[in-house]
């Protein structure tokens, strides 16, 4: 694996499967009474959040703590990017403190890439979401969730998602989750279809390794997983679609639509869900919806990523068991 995790596109198939397998091992740790590994003892990880995201921050923090890392939370909120010195200055401060990894969330696309490549800092950089660009650990936890549900917890080990059909619905244009998922799912052998009104698809989407459709109903019957993206209400004011009602009617997932999906198919949502707009309460609360599992899986997956970027080359669990027998 590379030294940083900036984009889901950076991962090879083997990298990705290794992360998912490692995440399964991490999940076993979560089932124990003491949910902690000594792996990153003495290592310092900074959660550098320029943009509010309590969910993602807590998920990373839990992962870091379970690996016994020293954790520093740095909320650089409000520091405007009007002059942009803040990122570089902050990076250099962290460098001086000798941190080993920086988990960065930033409103500007490319900020984690700059942080990793501009020589401002030496630490490993993990992208926790940048602008409308990438959110690779989200894609990994989504893939982990799909593999568990569609292939199986044990049966999935060593496996990718070959031949699985995944549909991603909603605001693709502004979604780093969609970009990351398209890259990773393609690498893992899945067939991805993006569904959205044409206004919410980026120009150039035709070059992505996926299918594109404007019609949700025709794609549902052939989907193994349907991932609903959040649509922000303010998009309406920018004329991306006429009204909330029309959006829900054409692209929202309700019980009737869910019934058109195959029996085994799951409904996913990166959260936070706003019931009513893109997903009805009925769907969100059904067993087929994995939104809550995704949150738990996020911790396992992030532990795996941190372990593999910062830890040793040995399998995490061997390490853990050695520790246990002492």
């Amino acid at each position: 694996m590379k030294r940083h995790l900036i984009s889901a596109a950076d991962l090879t198939r083997d990298d990705a499967v290794l992360i998912l397998d490692t995440a399964e091992e991490m999940a076993r740790v979560a089932d124990r009474p003491i949910k902690k590994l000594p792996t990153l003892r003495g290592r310092t990880v900074v959660n550098l959040f320029f943009e509010d995201s309590t969910r993602t921050r807590i998920s990373f923090e839990a992962a870091e703590k379970r690996l016994s890392a020293d954790v520093i939370n740095f909320a650089a909120k409000g520091s405007s990017v009007s002059k942009g010195e803040s990122l570089k200055d902050t990076a250099q401060t962290l460098e001086a403190m000798g941190v080993d990894a920086v988990v960065i969330r930033h409103g500007a696309s490319g900020a984690p890439y700059r942080l990793a490549t501009s020589g401002w800092i030496d630490a490993a950089v993990i992208n926790a979401g940048d602008g409308t660009h990438q959110h690779p650990t989200q894609a990994l936890l989504d893939a982990f969730t799909m593999r568990r549900r569609l292939v199986g917890r044990e049966a999935g080990l060593g496996q990718d998602l070959s031949g699985r059909r995944i549909t991603i619905v909603g605001d693709i244009l502004h979604s780093r989750v969609a970009r990351s998922n398209v890259d990773l799912l393609h690498t893992l052998g899945a067939e991805v279809t993006l569904v959205a009104p044409p206004t919410l698809l980026p120009v150039g989407v035709g070059h992505w390794p996926c299918e594109v459709s404007y019609d949700l109903d025709s794609t549902l019957p052939k989907s193994d997983a349907v991932m609903m993206l959040r649509v922000q209400r303010e998009r309406m004011n920018a004329a991306f679609f006429p009204t909330e009602r029309e959006y829900s009617r054409r692209y929202g997932l309700d019980g009737d639509r869910m019934a058109r999906m195959p029996e085994h198919a799951i409904v996913m949502h990166p959260g936070p869900m706003v019931r009513g707009m893109e997903i009805t309460a009925e769907v969100a609360d059904s067993d087929r919806c994995t939104a809550v599992e995704q949150v738990a899986n996020g911790v396992h997956t992030r532990m795996a990523v941190l372990y593999l970027l910062l830890g040793g080359n040995e399998p995490a669990v061997t390490h853990a068991r050695t520790e246990e027998t002492k």
Partner: protein, 428 residues
Amino acid sequence: MSKILIRGAKVLGGEARDVLVDGETIAEVGTGIAAGDATVVEAEGRILLPGLVDLHTHLREPGREDSETVLTGTRAAASGGYTAVFAMANTFPVADTAGVVEQVWRLGREHGYCDVQPIGAVTVGLEGRKLAELGAMHDSAAAVTVFSDDGKCVDDAVIMRRALEYVKAFGGVVAQHAQEPRLTEGAQMNEGVVSAELGLGGWPAVAEESIIARDVLLAEHVGSRVHICHLSTAGSVAIVRWAKSRGIDVTAEVTPHHLLLTDELVRTYDPVYKVNPPLRTERDVMALREALADGTIDIVATDHAPHPHEDKDCEWAAAAMGMVGLETALSVVQHTMVDTGLLTWEGVADRMSFKPARIGRAEGHGRPVSAGEPANLTLLDPAYRGTVDPAGFASRSRNTPYEGRELPGRVTHTFLRGRATLMDGKLA
């Protein structure tokens, strides 16, 4: 007065000639001219061009002297072979009154590395609402002939129409920065395959093309002339070509960087590539080269846009737009247009001196290299090969996309009215 004999230079890339400069003018062009008491510049293998004229320079003074001043900017110009530059109006304060344009003009005269012709703003404060005192700026000591809100588009069709009409009274020209503002809200790079992947706000080609299409039609309707700044797309070229075929009085410019660089470079997220208009695709670059060669695009203009290091040493979204260009322009044009066989050196003289001087009505510039003409001259070594090192720039800013890149050619001498401003590659 001092005499200079430039010996054996290929004038406009043609036969080797001796050029004798006496005082401010060219005294003689021929072969075997005796040196007498003249200082001799051995110029065998070099190309002699009329002094270059840049219709689109940002000198940043007044207001952003940390980026560039009239002094440092004109020194950069002389280093790049320029004898005249047109200074854009988006300074602080904006050059929208006779007072500010005269200030810039006087600074240019005092420093003397090249002539500085201020460009006046079209609208007060570049706000696009109210015409600035175009006539007063023309009547001032600066004798402004070119008006532009560059950096911003004159997007109100009525204001644009009135400006085009109004400047007819004194033979002025409006230079438009074509960028439909609503279509480019939040735009950070060319809209296309790369922007979709990088998650950067897209800047569609049509935002430029729709304004150009409108403006050539307005110019036709009111019988005025319009100049289009920094064309960047194949579609813009097609519109200008159509307008010219229809007899509309339009001229257009292209920057050196749009002749060479593409949006693929943005994959590095290195703000050195962040520029307005944005770098486009390979297809656009090829169309721009072709259009410059066939005359659809009239001139090369640098859009020299200096920024201090800290404005570029940050994340992409926060970085300032623009790149410096005066000192590398001729090398990039040689690389993209001459070495590719698209343009002769005579063509380069036409696109970088004769025509820009004519469009901006720069007195004494863009004249033939012949006896009796003002001795505004540029001498370059086309065989030179080297990598660009911004540490050696005369510009106060270093925001060049060419750092470490090999570019051909080097300006060795620049003469402004017979006085060397650049001598053997060193500022005089």
